[in-house]
């Protein structure tokens, strides 16, 4: 801090306000522990600062990257440059975390682990905000967004596979649970998408009928709204009884996998939850189709089927897909809860972790859930926007 008295006010005013806030927060956060050194998964562990645990070259590299990001946040306006330095600094931060793990773990030890400390989380969040702000200002098109998502997934995958992060707590949990992780991941995806697919098959025709018959519309939407007010764990639980009875009464149903515990009640409940957004948006989308276009289509001699498939449905598609997006993101989150009734999915790790007070295990379930929901949202949003381009 060199002689603040000489700083003139005009110069201060030129500083980016968001950047100023982020840098101030970052300066405070940098004093917090960077990692927590834990002897095993349960003990609280020792907080350690960055320069104490990482080889000085790596620490200086990381500090330099953070410094550049800070300066850019304060003084650089171009969003592209801000995004680039934020991403670089995030990578440096992650690298330092891995390096700390290597430095603190005795060779061959598979129990000692390091957990990211408060400084790491806060700095990562601040850099994330810087990147998000730059991205929001860049306003990339749908193709660029999908490309950025793919690059992120790919680089994260490579980084995790490289072994550099093997001593980090979450990866330790992953190493122990690798087989189950893959299994639960598929389970999670299958439950969320399976129920979504079934809901689409039912909700699209129902939405169409509701659009054609306004009297039915209010009743159907109200009923689906009531379904949404039932808490997820209660609905899962309530559905266990009849499905269990069904499996007991019909050996064929049990053979198909219908059972009181597990996937069947979860699928059914998620299906019910997914109906409302899709039906409501189908109705709204069809109602938003220009009456002049439909009238013209009729006047030119298109049949009812041709008008529905070629004009009404196509025009309503972006709105319908927004409904599908809402339902999918909602389902991906609710599958986590379904772990409570033995349906599997990432929630298994979350609730197991909560039960054992093992935070690393909780994160092993929570992080992929968020990543999955976010990735799906980006993909669907991009396709909706691509669809709307050209017609506006």
């Amino acid at each position: 801090m060199a002689a603040p008295r000489r700083l003139d006010l005009a110069g201060l005013r030129r500083l980016d306000p968001l950047g100023t806030m982020l840098v101030l927060a970052g300066l405070v956060a940098a004093r917090l522990p960077f990692v927590i050194d834990k002897a095993n998964r349960i003990v609280p562990g020792d907080p350690r600062p960055l320069f104490e645990v990482v080889p000085w070259t790596a620490a200086c590299g990381c500090a330099l990257a953070l410094l550049v990001a800070g300066v850019a946040a304060l003084a650089v306006r171009a969003p592209g440059a801000r995004l680039a330095v934020a991403v670089l600094a995030l990578a440096a931060l992650a690298f330092a975390l891995g390096a700390a793990g290597d430095a603190l773990t005795p060779a061959g030890n598979r129990v000692v682990r390091i957990a990211p400390g408060a400084a790491f989380w806060v700095l990562a969040a601040l850099l994330g905000v810087l990147a998000a702000d730059a991205l929001a200002r860049l306003a990339p098109g749908p193709a660029a967004r999908v490309l950025a998502l793919l690059l992120t997934v790919l680089s994260t995958g490579i980084a995790l596979a490289s072994g550099h992060f093997d001593h980090v707590s979450v990866m330790r949990e992953y190493a122990v649970n690798a087989d189950r992780f893959t299994h639960e991941a598929w389970r999670h995806v299958a439950l969320a998408f399976g129920s979504l697919g079934a809901a689409m098959v039912v909700a699209l025709p129902v939405g169409l009928v509701c659009h054609r018959m306004p009297r039915l519309r209010a009743a159907v939407i109200a009923a689906l709204n009531v379904v949404q007010t039932v808490p997820a764990i209660a609905l899962f639980g309530i559905l266990m009884a009849p499905l269990g009875a069904l499996a007991a009464a019909l050996p064929a149903a049990a053979h198909l996998g219908v059972a009181g515990i597990g996937a069947a009640p979860a699928l059914l409940a998620l299906f019910l939850y997914a109906l409302l957004p899709i039906v409501a948006n189908t109705v709204a989308g069809l109602a938003g189709v220009s009456p002049a276009a439909v009238e013209a289509a009729r006047g030119m001699g298109m049949t009812r089927g041709q008008i529905l498939a070629g004009v009404e449905f196509v025009l309503a598609l972006p709105v319908i897909l927004s409904g599908v997006r809402i339902a999918l993101v909602q389902n991906l989150g609710l599958v986590t809860v379904a772990a409570l009734i033995g349906a599997g999915g990432f929630g298994t790790f979350v609730f197991q972790g909560i039960g054992q007070a093992a935070i690393d295990l909780v994160l092993l379930g929570a992080i992929p859930t968020v990543a999955l929901a976010f990735g799906c949202a980006v993909l669907l949003d991009a396709s909706i926007e691509a669809m709307q381009r050209g017609r506006a």
Binding site: A132, D133, V230, L363, A366
Partner: protein
Amino acid sequence: MSRTIGAVLRVAVLAALVAFLAAPARFAPLFAPLAPPGAPAIYDQGDLASLAAAHLAIVCCAALASTVVAVGLALFVTRGAGVQFLPLSRALVNFGQTFPPVAVLAIAVPLVGFGEKPTLIALFAYGLLPIFENTLAGIRACPPALLEAASGMGMNGRQRLLGVELPLAMPLILEGVQLSLAVNVGTATIGSTVAAKGLGEVIIAGLLSNNDAFILQGGLATGLMAVLLHEAVALLRRRIR
């Protein structure tokens, strides 16, 4: 006509919920067929009324906090120096919406430990989004001509905000509150997995002991509570129109 039916229905639902919470034992015959043989038909490990009160309290506290913060934030990013934070706040809101409530809860536990606190944080964070988005939409929906007229009549920024913008945005803001309350009542049940007091306890006890009677009474009580909160805000919305 349909309005009176609606009012009667609302009162009936409220009466049913209060009666059940006040004297749950009287409803035992209703739930008995669902309970396993020999097991109690009504939750017996705690007082249903106090659980419901705790549930309601946590939901309302969280909603109040998220309303204050979300509305404040939305007002900040729609005027003066705050405008440059608008793209960022929209991006964060959009990102936040993809965050499952369970994940928020799970991530809050390491930060603040078990009990009411993580639940409160999760409900608060999850309640922010609908209110922020609706407030933003409400303020942006104010016709520019109207604001121009307000300025033309000599209203200053504060008077315009309190006299024109907020009243016009109020129905949409309340809709956001309605939405986050409804989501929160359900999400709060999950809070019981991290040892928060609430009706989720009843449902989870049912899941653990295979007692459908517990699951149903817990689910019904929360569902009715969600419907009643929704209707209460709807009443408020009609009042201010």
